[in-house]
C-alpha cells in the first residue's frame, strides 16, 4: 500500500486548538467530577443558529471541524467521509435511554433516537456538504480513529483523490460519571473532534506524509517490543530513524506498556505525551495525530508535551502509539513532506 499525504488538520479540543493550534497551556488534571468540556468556539461562522441548537455536542464539533478542515485544504468537497468514535452520540443515546426507562416506554419522541446512531456525525457531515460519496463509521473503542485512518489509506490506494478522516467523541452526562468511578488516571476525561483531509498526491500545502497504520485488539506486554519492531521493519525503518515517539500516556496502570518501550526501545528518541492537554477519551489519539502534524510542521511543541530530555535537531519521522486499558492498540507512522 502506498503512503498518502495529509493536506490539512483541525482540532476541537479542551484547549483552544481550533483557533490557535497547540500552545503552552495548563495541564488537565484528574480530580473527581473534573470532566473538561471542549473549548467553546464560535460555531456561527459554520452553522445556522437553528442547526446549532438542534445538534448534540459531538455532531456540532464534527460538522464544524469537517467543514473547516476541507476549507483549509483548499477543497470544495471530498471523495469520502470516514469517522471514528468510541461512544458515538452518547448524549442522545442517554437521553433516549433515560426516557425509555423513566417513562416506562411511554411519551417518547423520536428526535434523540434518530440522532443516537453512531454514524450520525458522518451522516450530518454528508448532509451539510451534500456529499454522496463513501461514508463510514468505526466504533472500536480506543483505535476507532486509526481504523478510519486505515480505511482512508485504502481508499486513496483505490483511485480516490481526497478523503476526510476524523475522530470525535462527546462527554455526555450519564455514563461518563460511571466510567469515572471505575477508571481513573492522572488526566481528566474530556471530548473533542480532530479531523484531517488526506490525499493520494502531494500538494503544495501538504502538512505530512502518512506512511502506515496498524491496529491490534490486544497485545501482551511481553510481545509489544516485537510487534513494534516488526511494524518498523515492514516500513523499512529502524528505531534510530524515529525522531519522536508520541505516546498516549495518561497515568493509569496501563502506562506500563508505554514505559516498556520508553525504557527498552526508544531511549535515544524524543518521548512525547499529549493526553495531559487533551484529556482522555476514546478518540484522544486523533488529538495525538494532530500534535504529530504540528510537530512536523512547526518543529516545536509545548514543554509539557516532552516526557524525556532528548531533543532532535530536526523532527522528520514520528511514531504514534496508543492503547487504553491495555486494549485497542494502534501504531501510526508519519513523516514530514
Amino acid at each position: 500500500m502506498n503512503s498518502v499525504y495529509i493536506h490539512s488538520g483541525v482540532s476541537i479540543s479542551a484547549q483552544n486548538t481550533f483557533e490557535e493550534g497547540i500552545k503552552e497551556v495548563e495541564e488537565l488534571k484528574f480530580t473527581e467530577n473534573s470532566q473538561v468540556k471542549a473549548f467553546k468556539i464560535n460555531y456561527k461562522e459554520f452553522l445556522s443558529p437553528i442547526a446549532s441548537r438542534r445538534m448534540a455536542t459531538g455532531v456540532k464539533m464534527g460538522v464544524v471541524a469537517a467543514k473547516k478542515v476541507i476549507q483549509k485544504a483548499g477543497e470544495d468537497t471530498v471523495d469520502a467521509i470516514i469517522t471514528g468514535t468510541g461512544l458515538g452520540c452518547v448524549e442522545d443515546s442517554e437521553k433516549f435511554l433515560n426516557a425509555v426507562i423513566d417513562n416506562d416506554e411511554q411519551f417518547l419522541t423520536p428526535t434523540s433516537f434518530i440522532q443516537s446512531t453512531h454514524n450520525t456525525v458522518a451522516a450530518q457531515i454528508a448532509l451539510s456538504i451534500k456529499n454522496k460519496g463513501y461514508n463510514m463509521t468505526y466504533v472500536n473503542g480506543a483505535n476507532s480513529f486509526e481504523a478510519a485512518l486505515l480505511d482512508g489509506m485504502l481508499l486513496l490506494n483505490e483511485e480516490n483523490e481526497t478523503v476526510l478522516v476524523g475522530g470525535v467523541d462527546e462527554l455526555g452526562k450519564r455514563f461518563i460519571n460511571d466510567y469515572e468511578k471505575i477508571y481513573q488516571q492522572d488526566v481528566s476525561f474530556s471530548e473533542g473532534a480532530n479531523f484531517f483531509t488526506l490525499g493520494a498526491r502531494k500538494k503544495e500545502n501538504s502538512i505530512a506524509q502518512l506512511l502506515n497504520v496498524e491496529v491490534f485488539q490486544e497485545i501482551d506486554e511481553d510481545n509489544l517490543l516485537k510487534k513494534i519492531a516488526s511494524f518498523l521493519e515492514e516500513n523499512s525503518l529502524k528505531v534510530s530513524d524515529i525522531d519522536a515517539v508520541i505516546l498516549g500516556i495518561n497515568g493509569d496502570a496501563y502506562d506500563s506498556y508505554y514505559q516498556k518501550i520508553q525504557s527498552e526501545l526508544f531511549t535515544d528518541t524524543t518521548q512525547l505525551k499529549y493526553k495531559n492537554l487533551s484529556g482522555e477519551f476514546f478518540t484522544a489519539s486523533a488529538f495525538g495525530f494532530y500534535v504529530a502534524t504540528e510537530l512536523l510542521n512547526k518543529q516545536e511543541l509545548p514543554t509539557n508535551c516532552f516526557f524525556n530530555s532528548v531533543k532532535k535537531e530536526d523532527y522528520k519521522t514520528v511514531l504514534l502509539y496508543n492503547q487504553y486499558l491495555g486494549k485497542q492498540h494502534s501504531l501510526v507512522l508519519l513523516t514530514s513532506c
Binding site: 500500500m1 467521509i81 468510541g86 461512544l87 458515538g88 452518547v90 443515546s93 433516549f96 435511554l97 425509555v100 426507562i101 416506562d104 416506554e105 411511554q106 417518547l108 419522541t109 423520536p110 433516537f113 434518530i114 440522532q115 443516537s116 446512531t117 453512531h118 454514524n119 450520525t120 458522518a122 451522516a123 450530518q124 454528508a126 448532509l127 451534500k130 456529499n131 454522496k132 460519496g133 463513501y134 461514508n135 463510514m136 463509521t137 468505526y138 466504533v139 472500536n140 473503542g141 476507532s144 481504523a147 486505515l150 480505511d151 485504502l154 483505490e158 450519564r174 455514563f175 460511571d178 466510567y179 468511578k181 471505575i182 491496529v215 491490534f216 485488539q217 490486544e218 497485545i219 485497542q328
Partner: protein
Amino acid sequence: MANGVAITGMGIISSIGNTVEENLQSLLSESDGISTIENIATRHANNIKVGEIKLSNEELAKLLALDNFEKYSRTTLLGAIAAKQAIESANINDVNQYKTGFISSTSVGGMDLTEKYCNTFFDAPRNEQFINSHNASESTQQIASFIGLTDFVTTISTACSSAANAIMLGARLIKAKKLDRVIVGGTDGLSKFTLNGFKTLMILSDKKSQPFDKNRKGLNLGEGAAYLVLESEEVVAKENKKVLAFLSGYANANDAHHQTASSEEGEGAFLAMKKALKLADLETSVIDYINAHGTGTPNNDASESEALKRIFEEVPIFSSTKAYTGHTLAAAGGIEAVFSILALKEQKAFANLNFADEIEKTQLKPTTKTVEKEIKHVLSNSFGFGGNCSTLIFSKV
C-alpha cells in the same frame, strides 16, 4: 475485478434457524420467524411483531459451552454462535495460521445489558462490568476473544448497512494484501431501546411485514448474526479450499438527503448499485436475482423501487427476505449475504412473503414463490439511517 474475493465459510443465527441449514430449510419451505415478543418485557408486546430467536441468553451460552452467561450481551452471544459456525464451515483449525482479521458490526451492541443495569451499576460489585456494555466494541472484543483473534479487530456501525460495510472492508483488506483471511459480518440483539426508537418513528407494523406491497405498514424488527470467511487467492490455492462464492462487487454511497428518510428517487441506493456493478465489471443484464433491502416501510420500499427502476432496464427477479427474519439491523447485510450465497448454491430465488399488490407508482412485483432458475450473480442491498447505502454482488464459482 476478475472473480472477486473468495468466500470460504459462513455462519448464521436468525429467527428462522440456528444454523445455515436450518435457515435454508425455512427459506425453502417459506416459513417465517415472525412472532410475538417473549424475551423482552415491553408494553408494546401486543402491538408489534418481531423476528425473535426463541432462546434465552442462558440457552445461547449453552450452545457455545460458555458458563457465566450473564457476562455476555445477547449481541455477543448471537455473534459468537455465527462466527464459530463460519470458522468451522471454512474448515479452519488454527485461526492464527494466517494473518487473520475480525470485522464485526452492530448498531446498539450490549444495549440489553445497559438497559438492565444502568441504574444499578454500583449496587453490586458484579454489576460494574456492565458499564462497558454500551461501548459498541465490547461485543466485538468478546467475540474476538472467543474465537481467539487478537490482532486486526475492528467494529463498524453504519446503522442498518453495517454488516455489508464490514464485508466490504474485509474484501478491500484482502485485496490490499493487509490480511490473508478475515471474518466479516454483524450482530444485533433485540433491545427495548431499539424497539421504542422504531416505535416512535411509527414505522413498526403490528402485523407481519409486507415488503414492496402497496399496503405495507412498516417493518418487523428482528435479531440475529451472520459472518462470512473471506480468504486471499494464495490461501485458497495453498489450502485447496472449497470456495462457496465470490464477492465480485461492492460499493458504499450516501443518499445525503435526510438523517432517517431515503430520498424519493433513491439516489444513494442508485449510486451504490451503480458503483458495485462497475467494480464487478458486470452489466445490469447479468444480475439474476436481487436480495433487496425491502424493509416493508412505506419510505424504503418506494425509494428502493425507484432506484431499481433507474438502474435496471428490466428489473430482474427480486425479493426481500425480511418478511422471514424481520429487520435485523446491523446484522441484516450479513444475514442477507448468507441468503445470497444460498441462492447461488441452490440456484433458487427466495420468495417475498406477504406480498399482494404492487406499489402503484413503480409497479414492481417481487417473486412471491421460491423459484428455481439459473443464478450466476446476486445483488444484495443494505441501507441505513444517515443515508448509508451499500451494495454487494455475489457471483457463482
